[in-house]
């Protein structure tokens, strides 16, 4: 029975249900138990984000507080995965991923390939991304394009509570390393989520709004920005089809191409920087495989090629908003040769 819960609660429920179902699922990260050393305060936080709250007491010995050493505990999680566990490691901010790149892209991503398919690495690395919380340049980046670039990693970005639960369950059951991106601004978003367990397959984009004039391809928090723009544009008689990619690796090319073949116009909305990003990737895909369908040049709405500013005024300008999306849609609908 579906009821409304938040994105944070949906993630917590996915973890709890998978830990209940499968004893090999463990959770580890900084402050995941919270306040270790003072029993009364244990579990006070449930991770800095509160996502793992309640799990420490429910699953004794399976929620591990780790030292503030990302390279150590991400490496430990990957090693545990190769040895038969299904660890879900929380690396607070994706911005800190740099110190454990070797473990992720040179080790975890390569094991299945280099050991001839005999090794599996069922690890999930959950992490928080995105701007909007006045957290400045080192705590606000997107960085999912970096991981999408690497063969052997799966990259997941849920936009809604329903997707958060189903994609996290799939991530835990998946035998490959999964990078699981949670946008800071979405944790309090509520929506309908079934109480029962369910897995959403990777590589299936979600058409969140149908329309025949322009295709908007987007992901993560920008799904909501794009829907806001599409709602406003509909009042002006412009019908946008909004596609939430859900996963950037694997990528659902067919849904994107079929939509553009119907609309003839593409706007890609991506919160990441504009170079070597999901926006450029989708633009290249459509330019190569649906060139004949295009009736206007492709528009990209992205953050600028700068670090995320700490100034409130500048950060607000940095993040793509519905007005910029609407402007891009008007550019492609108004384009003449």
């Amino acid at each position: 029975m579906a009821r409304n819960i938040t994105y944070r609660e949906a993630l917590n429920e996915a973890l709890a249900q998978e830990m209940e179902r499968d004893e090999s699922v463990i959770v580890m990260g900084e402050d995941n138990a919270g306040g270790a050393g003072s029993p009364g305060a244990q579990d006070a936080w449930g991770g800095v984000l509160g996502v793992t709250k309640g799990l420490y007491h429910k699953f004794p010995g399976r929620v591990l507080d780790t030292p503030i050493s990302e390279s150590a505990f991400i490496g430990a999680a990957i090693g545990a995965a190769t040895a038969g566990l299904r660890p879900v490691a929380e690396l607070m901010f994706v911005d800190f991923m740099g110190v454990c790149f070797d473990q992720i892209y040179n080790q975890a991503a390569k094991f299945r390939y280099m050991f001839g398919g005999k090794a599996v690495t069922p690890v999930v690395i959950r992490t928080m991304y995105g701007a909007g919380l006045r957290a400045a340049a080192q705590h606000s980046q997107c960085l999912y394009p970096l991981f999408t670039h690497i063969p052997g990693l799966k990259v997941v970005l849920p936009a809604t509570p329903y997707d958060a639960k189903g994609l996290l369950i799939q991530a835990i059951r998946d035998n490959d390393p999964v990078m699981f991106f949670e946008h800071k601004a979405l944790y309090d978003l509520a929506g309908p989520v079934p109480e029962e367990s369910y897995a959403l397959p990777f590589g299936e984009a979600n058409v969140v709004r149908e329309g025949g004039d322009v295709t908007i391809v987007t992901l993560g928090r920008m799904v909501h920005t794009s829907l806001e723009a599409a709602g406003r544009l509909a009042a002006d008689g412009v019908q946008c089809e909004v596609i939430d990619l859900r996963t950037t690796s694997p990528l659902d090319e067919d849904t994107v191409l079929e939509s553009v073949e119907g609309t003839g116009r593409l706007v890609v909305v991506d919160e990441a920087h504009p170079r070597c990003s999901i926006a450029t990737d989708i633009s290249a895909l459509v330019a190569r495989k649906a060139f004949g369908a295009l009736q206007a040049p492709i528009e990209m709405v992205t953050a600028p090629h700068t670090p995320v500013p700490f100034s409130k005024a500048l950060e607000d300008l940095y993040i793509p908003d519905a007005q910029r999306v609407a402007n891009a849609v008007k550019t492609v609908t108004g384009w003449t040769r």
């Binding site: 029975m1 189903g166 029962e196 367990s197 369910y198 897995a199 397959p201």
Partner: protein, 388 residues
Amino acid sequence: MTDQRIVPVTMPKWGLSMQLGKITSWIAAEGDEVAAGGDLADIETEKIAGTLEAAEAGTMRRIIARAGEDVPVGGTIALMAPAEVSEEDLDAAARQARAVIDAGMPADVSAPEVQTAEAGGRKISYAGAGADGDVVLLIHGYGGDRNSWLFLQEPLAARYRVYALDLPGHGTSAKDVGDGSIGVLADAVVAVLDAVGAGQAHLVGHSLGGAVALGVAARDPGRIASLTLIAPAGFGSEINAGYLRGFADAQTRRELKPVLGQLFAADDLVTRQVVDDLLAYKRLDGVDEALHALLGTLLDGDAQRADSAASVAAIGGAVPITAVWGSADRIVPPAQAESVDRAVRRLIDGAGHMPHMERPAEVQAAIEETIARARPPAPGTPSPTLGP
């Protein structure tokens, strides 16, 4: 005081979650004479698009809600009244109805409440609506759920106490179906009848649910007052096995949508929301196993395995039976209606396998007619002289 001859047309409640409906277009215009079951307006909700039909014949006098407008369930969207009712009285009633819509006040709505029963350790969900009186239990088909009756449960609830359940493996009921036999499904129906304290009930079963209704009646014919079977399974060897396997096996929207199109005579009822809702159901843990187990109950190779004719024979002649079939059914051939012994047969011209969604008013009439046949004669009326 509102003139009793002014009959409000209200926003229907199609399914548990519906709170608002949007009138996409009016089919009837002010001044039109509308027959009972005549089309009034096209309405869409978050979940589905459908056509609102007139409950009774009458004259459309005022249209209150505009096309494109969202109206809360139960809100008055039009007024019907005979010619004798004055324009002034209608204007006054229209202003009142308009004010309610403008205030955004949801009118009082009796939403069916979801409850649970237990059958063989399985949780069974069901929802009831309506007044005290005869109990009607609606049993959905393969892959459906209690919301399959969204166009019928509320209208029937005006006269009966109407329940709809989720069979094991479906909706929000337990997903374990055991051996997937008709018997396991029939246990769930009996559990709901017990839970609501129904000594006797009218069963309405669609497709697989028809075979289940017959299974319940064959066990205990005295408990069943009447049977309305909508395209029931088990009355011939022929069935669209490709549809059944396609539904069970579909993993993606792309695979599922064309399969679902076969359910209806015209596939415009298969909206994106319908496909998404079914995919969300199919992705719940345990559903894949349940649907494949039930395939073994429905199919023997490419032929039907269920034998509903044997159930009809076991029930004997005391229970009135109606077989309702869409003439354009692409899942179970309508010709199989001929094999339903002792049944009154109603062929719904132009409907597919889902007449209760495609042509709800006609199916409602068939159900009410069947229930009426089961009614004991009112005191004082002579009983029919059919035997000793």
